[in-house]
Symmetry: D2
Subunit: 278 residues, 4 copies
C-alpha cells in the first residue's frame, strides 16, 4: 500500500526557543520512505538525527522570535506482514530478547504495577498468544468510552481505567499496561493513520510476540495496514511530535494520510488478523 502523507505545524515563537520535532516516518522494516520533503519557514539550520536504539527521527531547531512553520510530506510504501494469529505465541520471560525487557517496566503513563492484579484476574486465564492481546483490545474497546475532553496530558492508564473514558493515546496506554502486567513487552507507537477520522496524529501500541513487534489498536478507528510509524517509545512521554524548550505558543496542526493506489480497499483489517510493520 502506498500513502501520501504529511503534517504541517505552526507556532508563534515568543523568545528564542529550541524545538525538537519527531514527525518524520520511520525508515526500515516493512515501511519504506519513497521520498520526503521537509520545509522549515523561516529557513533555519536544522539538526537531523536518528536515535540508534528506536529509529525515531528527530529534527531539532533553534528558532528566533516570530512565526515558525514546519511542513513534512512523504510517500510511503507499506508492506505489512500478516502471520496467522493462531501461530503467534507469547515469549516466556525466560527467553525474551534482552532489548525487549525495558518494555516490561512501568512508565509515566503505564503504571503496570498498579493494574497487575486486575490484569491477571481478567486476562490471566486466557490462553497466551496473539489472541490474548486481541482480548485485551476487545476489553478496552468495550469498556472504555472514546470521548474527547475526558483526559489530558497528565492522564495515566490507571486514571483511564477508573474513569473509563479517553482518546487514542489513553487506549494505547491501557493496552500497554495490561500487556506488561502479564509479562508481554509492549510499547507505544505514534503514527500517521490512513482513513482516521478526524485526521490527526494517531496512537497505537505494539506487543512483542513470536519474534517481532505486532501492531494493535484498541480504538479500531483505522486500518492497522495503513499505519505509518513515526516513533516508538515507552509511552506518550517518549513520542511527542514536538517538544518545546522556551516560550512558544502553538498555532495549528494539520495531519493527512491518503492512499495513492487506485484500488485500495476501504475496509480494514480487524484485530483477528495480525499486522506488523517491524
Amino acid at each position: 500500500m502506498r500513502l501520501a502523507l504529511g503534517c504541517e505545524v505552526s507556532y508563534d515563537v515568543l523568545d528564542t526557543a529550541t524545538l525538537i520535532f519527531n514527525i518524520e516516518a520511520m525508515r526500515g522494516g516493512r515501511q519504506q520512505v519513497l521520498n520526503e520533503q521537509l520545509v522549515v519557514n523561516p529557513n533555519l539550520v536544522a539538526d537531523e538525527k536518528t536515535a540508534p536504539e528506536s529509529g525515531n527521527r528527530y529534527l531539532r531547531l533553534t528558532a528566533p522570535p516570530g512565526y515558525l512553520n514546519v511542513r513534512y510530506t512523504a510517500e510511503i510504501e507499506l508492506d505489512p506482514l500478516h502471520n496467522a494469529p493462531a501461530f503467534i505465541a507469547e515469549v516466556p520471560v525466560a527467553t525474551l530478547p534482552i532489548d525487549t525487557l525495558p518494555y516490561l517496566n512501568a512508565s509515566r503513563y503505564c503504571p503496570s504495577d498498579q493494574l497487575a492484579r486486575f490484569a491477571n484476574r481478567q486476562f490471566g486465564n486466557i490462553a497466551p498468544g496473539f489472541g490474548r492481546v486481541v482480548e485485551i483490545c476487545n476489553w478496552i474497546n468495550g469498556e472504555v468510552d472514546y470521548q474527547f475532553g475526558t483526559s489530558d496530558s497528565a492522564t495515566t492508564a490507571a486514571g483511564t481505567f477508573s474513569t473509563r473514558a479517553g482518546v487514542c493515546r489513553d487506549f494505547a496506554h491501557l493496552g500497554i499496561t495490561f500487556c506488561r502486567a502479564l509479562g508481554i513487552p509492549a510499547r507505544f507507537v505514534s503514527c500517521y493513520a490512513w482513513q482516521l477520522e478526524p485526521q490527526d496524529f494517531h496512537a497505537v501500541f505494539e506487543a512483542y510476540l513470536g519474534d517481532r513487534w505486532y501492531l494493535f489498536d484498541p480504538t479500531r478507528m483505522a486500518s492497522l495496514d495503513g499505519m505509518v510509524r513515526i516513533a516508538i517509545g515507552r509511552d506518550a512521554a517518549d513520542t511527542a511530535f514536538a517538544t518545546i524548550f522556551g516560550a512558544v505558543n502553538p498555532r495549528n496542526v494539520w495531519v493527512w494520510a491518503n492512499a495513492l493506489d487506485q484500488n485500495t480497499s476501504a475496509e480494514w483489517t480487524t484485530d483477528a488478523v495480525s499486522t506488523t510493520q517491524d
Copy 2:
C-alpha cells in the same frame, strides 16, 4: 579506591518462576571489576546478558519450587574523575547528544511535567551548570525528611514533593524530576555504597553536564567516590535488583561494601566536588 562488595538474596519459590537479577557491578568507565563471583544455589542454568545501551547486567534464572539463594561478590577499583565544578556547564538542549534526550522525558516515578512550574520558579534563576544541580540537591536535602515507612513502591516524585518525606529512591526521583523540568538530562542509578548506614542497595542520580554524567546524592548519606554503579535507567522502574515473574516469597537481602585500602579516608566528598564514574 578499592572495594570488596556484594550481596546475597534469598527466596522461597512457590511455583516455577523466572527471576531477573540486576545486582552485578557495571563494567567500564571509571569503575573496574577486578574479580567477581556469582553463586546460585541450587546450581541453575543462568542466562547472563549485558544490555548494550545501558550496560546493565542481567542474570536470568528459571527456578523450581524451593529455596533459592543468589550470592554475588566482587572487588572493584574506582577511579573517579573530579572536574572543577565551576567549569562544568549545562548543555543547551540544542546541542545535547541524541542519546541523552530520553532522559529529559517524564517517567513512572519522575513526572517532570507536573513539577515543571515549581522547578522553574525555584531553580530557574540559578546560574546554569553543575552548581544548579547542587542547589537542587541542597533543596531536597533541606526540605524532605529522610524517613523509612513514609513512601512505598508506588510513590512518585510528585507524591514526595507533597508529603516531604521519603527514602533514597524518592530523593533521587525528585532530583531527576527537577533536572528534567529544567532541561537537564537525568537518570537513576542503583549502586553499592561504601559507608552507607545501614547497608543496603543505594539509589542516587546522574545529571548530564559538560560531556558526561555526573553523580549526585541528595541524601548525602555516603561518599560519591565510593559508589559502585549497578544499573542506570529512567527511574527505579528500570533498575530493580530483582524482577520476579511467578509466585515467589522474598526471604532476605544482605548488602555490603567495604574499603580494601588501608588508608581510605572516612571523610567523604560533598556536593561541592564533582564526581563521575562515567
Copy 3:
C-alpha cells in the same frame, strides 16, 4: 442480641498533646447502651461531647508527657430491624430528605465523580432498590482481594478500584463510592463487630433506602446483626477512633465484642436479608 464489648488503647505521649477519641458506642436507634465504663489512666479531665448531627461521641483529653491508657467497656443490646429486601426501594433524588444530600457528595476517600462512568456501566441497568446495593457488595467481594498491607491511610476508592486489593475500610469506601455515583446516599460506619476475626475496629457502610439507613458489609466478615456502631461520617476521615494533635507514639490497640446470650447463633445474616440499627 446482647454484647459485651470494648477496647483499650495506649500511647506514649512525648509532649503535652490533645487526643480526640471516638470509641464509644452510639446511643439510640436500635442500639441500646445498657451500661458502660470509661477509664483513663492517668485520671485526666475529659471533655465528653456528642455531635448533634451524627450522634458520634467524642472524648477529648489533653495529656501530659508519659504513658496514656484509655479503656472503654460496654454492654449493648441490639434490636436490628429486618425488612423484606424486595420492598426496600431507592429514593429518587427528587424526594431524598435534605439531610441525606451531603452523603451524595464526593469525599476524601470516596471520589464518586471519578468512578461514575464505571458505576453506571456496571450497576446502572440493575433494578433500583436494596438488591442493587447487594449487587454492588457482591461485585466488591468478588473483584477485590481482602489483603492486609495492600493499602494505607492515603488509599482512595479509585486506588482500590485500580489495585483490586484492600481491607475493610477500602471495601466500605468502594461501596459508598458506587452508591453515591448512582444517586444513593451512602455513609461510612465504624463499629465493633461480633465474630470478626481477627478482632479489631471494623468498617462497613450504610445506604439510605426506603426511609432509613441500611447496613452493608462488602467484606462479609461478620454478621450485620452483631455490629455496634461507633461513628458515622462521609468516610474514614470522619471516623478515626483516635485523632492526635501533638507528639504521641501509639503503643497498643485491643478490641473485643462478645455475645452475652447463651443461645446466640454462630451463623450470620447474609446480604440477602436487610439489617438496620438506625
Copy 4:
C-alpha cells in the same frame, strides 16, 4: 454595603432530570437578604429547603426534556464585622466547639493528611492566630499562578501544590488544607463577589478563629467586604451551584453583583483586616 446580585443559568434537558441548585444567598449572620426573586422557566414545581446545619439553600426541580432557565436576583445588605487581627486567636483543639471538628478532617479536594508535613515546616513556627492564616494566604498568592485551564474538577490541593497553578477554588482548597493540617478548622465558601473580574461564582474559605468564622481569599481578586455567601461546606464537592442527575447539557451561566450604594469605595479590604459575615 448593599448589593444587587444574581445569576441566570440555562440547560438543555435531554431526558427528565432532577437538578439541585444552590445559588441563593444565605440568610443570617451579617448578611441580610432584603428581597429576592427566583424565576424558573418553564414554571416547574420547585422544592426549596434550607439545610439546618449549614444554612445552604437548595432548590430542587425535576425538569422535563427541553430548555430550562433559572434566574435568581436579590438585594443584600452586608454588615461585616472587623475585629482587630492582633486580637483574633487560634482556638486550641482542646477547646474547639464540637461542630467545628469536622472541618479539621481531610476531604475530597483538601487532603490535609498529605500536606501536613509541609504545612508544619512552612507555617508551624509562625505565631498562631489570624496572622498565621494571612501568611498562608500570602504564601498561596505568591507561589501559585492564577491561570484558567490549569486545573479541572478532579484537581485536589495536593495537585495544586505540585503544579503551582489553579483558579479560585484551587486557591481556597489549598488554604483550607494548610489550615486543617495546622489544627485550624477551615471550610469552603461559594459566593457572589462584588468587583470580581470577570464576574462568576467565586470561591473563598473561612477559618475558625476566636469565636467565629473569618473570611479569607488567597486570590485577592475581590473585597472580602463585598462577598455574599451562597454555600459553605467541606470543599467544592459540597457547594456545587448545580448538581445534575440525568442527561442535561449546560448552556449558559451569567453571574453579577453590583453595589447599590452611591459612595461605595472601589478600594477593598486586604487580608490585613479581618472580615466575617458570620
